[in-house]
Amino acid sequence: SQKIEQNSEALNIQEGKTATLTCNYTNYSPAYLQWYRQDPGRGPVFLLLIRENEKEKRKERLKVTFDTTLKQSLFHITASQPADSATYLCALGGYNNNDMRFGAGTRLTVKP
């Protein structure tokens, strides 16, 4: 069966460091992978999308890599800030973009 696993339930880091979150998947050949941020009591907010033929995407302090051989995506937040504290979700989708599946999320806490 298809599985999407995010490396850990929680990650604590010091302000200014780089946070690295991992998303692994099995029995899946996604056309693209997305990362979302979710704050308590709110809906997920789209951050970045990377396609199967792309290796890396950047947006301001965010960087996403996508390795379809390893079946893994890494999500980096550089120069992390306490305001980056949230749950980060990875999601995989097919070519039709109508069936996106989410991982369970990693709760990131950035300590000042």
Binding site: A31, Y32, Q34, Y36, G41, R42, G43, P44, V45, F46, L47, L49, R51, T87, L89, G93, N96, N97, N98, D99, M100, R101, F102, A104, G105
Partner: protein, 112 residues
């Protein structure tokens, strides 16, 4: 100017009741979704509609019936509510192509 709006935000009801959750998007997106987020924060797709047509129906009890009167609305009706239906339900929408989803702020359903 809310992009995806859901009502109500909170819903507390007794077992056996029938309830509806409404969703509207003003983004002009073609596809709308219902997701369920359980107590473990796992976000699971329930239904997907494209231009009022049902395209994804995951293994959801037939007590759940989505209805899309037009492209901008996707409502969720739930019959004979059970304790296990307690969760946060998120509506989302997306344009055609590989783009991120826009989520509503969620409806917290509590069945007592």
């Amino acid at each position: 100017d809310t992009a995806v709006s859901q009502t109500p935000k909170y819903l507390v009801t007794q077992m056996g009741n029938d309830k509806s959750i409404k969703c509207e998007q003003n983004l002009g997106h073609d596809t709308m979704y219902w997701y369920k987020q359980d107590s473990k924060k796992f976000l699971k797709i329930m239904f997907s509609y494209n231009n009022k047509e049902l395209i994804i129906n995951e293994t959801v009890p037939n007590r759940f019936s989505p209805k899309s009167p037009d492209k901008a609305h996707l409502n969720l009706h739930i019959n004979s509510l059970e304790l296990g239906d307690s969760a946060v339900y998120f509506c989302a929408s997306s344009p055609s192509g590989n783009y991120g989803y826009t989520f509503g702020s969620g409806t917290r359903l509590t069945v007592v």
